[in-house]
Structures are given as C-alpha cells and as structure tokens.
Symmetry: C2
Subunit: 211 residues, 2 copies
Amino acid sequence: MYKKEISKAVINRLPRYYRYLSDLLEKDVVRISSKELSERMNVTASQIRQDLNNFGGFGQQGYGYNVEYLHSEIAKILGLDRIYNLIIIGAGNLGQALANYADFERRGFHVSGIFDVNPRLKGLSIRGIEIMMMEELESFVKENSIDIAAITVPKSKAPQLAQELVNMGIKAIWNFAPTDLHLPKEVTVENVHLSDSLMKLSYRISERDKA
Amino acid sequence: MYKKEISKAVINRLPRYYRYLSDLLEKDVVRISSKELSERMNVTASQIRQDLNNFGGFGQQGYGYNVEYLHSEIAKILGLDRIYNLIIIGAGNLGQALANYADFERRGFHVSGIFDVNPRLKGLSIRGIEIMMMEELESFVKENSIDIAAITVPKSKAPQLAQELVNMGIKAIWNFAPTDLHLPKEVTVENVHLSDSLMKLSYRISERDKA
C-alpha cells in the first residue's frame, strides 16, 4: 500500500505523532491543521506533511487532519492494531516499573508474565501478575504465545538470556541491559540504553558550557 | 580544538564507543584495530575512523587504537571528565531504579537527592540517600549545586514540575515522563520515552511480519 524503505528518522517521529494525537483525542479535538500540529510538536508543517506523505497523506489541503482518523491510521502503521503478549525478565525496580506502566496495556502491550531468579520474589504479584521463577520460563513461553521479551537483568546475564529466549522462539526483545545483544537477523531488538542517554545529556551540557 | 557541528548521528554513537571501550578496558585490552573494534560493534571500520576524525583522529595508521587513551579522550568529549550532581524527582519504581544504578555513579553522575510527594516514603533511603519531600526541593536546590534533574513523575505533573525546576535554576533535565517539555532554549532536555521505544518495536515487528 505505501512505499517501502521508510527512513529511520521518520519511524523515530511516528510514535511522537501518535502521542500528540492521543493527547488531542483525550481533549476531544476533532480536527487540526498541520500548522497547529506543527506548533505543538515544534516541527515544521512541511515536515509533518512530508512524513505523513510516506504513508499516503491523510490530510486534505485546507481542511487539516481528522484527529481520530489520523490517530487510527498511525496506530495501524505502528502495528498498534493488535495485541502483543509481553514478558518481563527481571523483577527489580526497572522490571516492576515496566509492569506497573498501565499505558503500555492501554496500547495493546499485555504483560503476560514476570520472571526473576530471586526466590524471595516468588509468588509476589505486580498489578495482579504473579512473579514466576526462571525455571518456569521455558514452559511458560512454550504454552503461551509470547511476542516480546523485555530484559531488565544485569548486563553480565543479558547476552546468554537473550540467546536462550531466541532458542525458545522469542522473536522480539526490548533490551534494557547496558550491552548490545548480537542475535540472528530475524530477531527484532530495541535497546533502551539509559547510560547512553545520560552520556548524551552530559555531552550536551559540556558543549553548552563551552559555548 | 575540534570542528563544530558534530552530527546528531555521531553524538548518538559516541556513548556506544565509550561503552565498548569500557568493556575492553575491563578485560585489560591495551590496543585494538579499527577492524576488530568494528567487528565487535557491528559498524564498518571506515565509519569508526570517520566518526573519530570529527574529534581529531586518535589512531595511528597500522597501529590501531590505544584503548585507554581513546577511552579517556571520548570521556572528555562526552563531558565525563567531571562530576554531575543529579537529583531524582519521583521515588517510584523508575526513580528507585535510577537511584540504584551504580554505573551512573561510576561515570561521575552523583545522586545528590531523591524527592517524592508520598509522605509514606519520607525518611526511607535508597543506597544511603534519604528520600525527601517536595517541600524541601527548592531549598535543597538552592543550597546544593545541582546539574541535572531526572523527572520520573506522572505525565500530568511533569510540565509544571519542569518549569519550577527551571525557575530554581536547573539547566538540564533528564525526562522520563511520556510527554515533551517545552522549556527555554538554554535548558538541555534529554527524553527517555519508553512508550515511543515500545512503539518502534511494534512497528518493526509488524513490518517484519508483513515481509
């Protein structure tokens, strides 16, 4: 339907469009001009038109965008028109933060299970989801259709765990361990490297202070 | 010393170089060729040379890179040759995860204080840092030299809090609330939008499944 090879920069901006449109929907805004959307989002109106043209447009010259329609179309592009079963490996603070984040559930990311090695966490629940032990992981993955595994274990454990998850048939990993995972190409990996983010911040602070 | 206007893509890769070089240092590797570094990092050797040339090189043709020297030079570029005092606003799971992350401390990001509105958290400590109440924030910021504020409060509270922090003199914000902050240009903001990251993952899963 739309042309292939969408640039990484466009893909990086799509979730942001979706977020802004979600906010507008919550405020019952029915229609928005690309000018107004651009002012809110702090990008140019032509950038917005150009980005959306990658997927066939959605706006009518002079009429602006229908918020609900654009929101649902971007949802489809982002693959948000289905449910994803997600497991979280590592029930520390970060794993618990992810499990508690109700917004994910609202967007179709259903937390199916949480796993940890710490026997003291066994049987505890987060948002009604019982923490299971790692010995239970393989059979759980086999019995349930799991789409995404979030990894919040220490860096030293992450590469082997990721490989094991792939062996169990997991095809998408949301990696929070501060290390890159080297996995087969058919496995989709999205990294959240918090320390990289903090270093980008210190880079920009030191550049600013030099100026 | 080095030419200005380093591209965003290069800046995004620098923390990754730093991370790999830190791992090599830990393994007592003294010297590495750009070819070997490129294989480990899964980027081309010419990309590495090109990136580092932005800052004046650091390698000698045929000799490879001195790991310790390159590590310390990249640290300087990233502004890691100084200490940053960081406060965390929001002592929920995510705030606690950040406070517990010893790696940040090791790189010079010192957690000076943690703040929350929940009176039940008053007096509790995370890694020896006592959780303070929001009423204490302003005087704490005035009495201490705070470089960075990490915001892990709900989305609805984040914009006003960010504005208040700026009014108190904070010039860098590490924002985890799923909303963009519109702040004066002189304030450096680095966003970690977890839901955007998850949507990028679902986009790539759905593109993969279409193929």
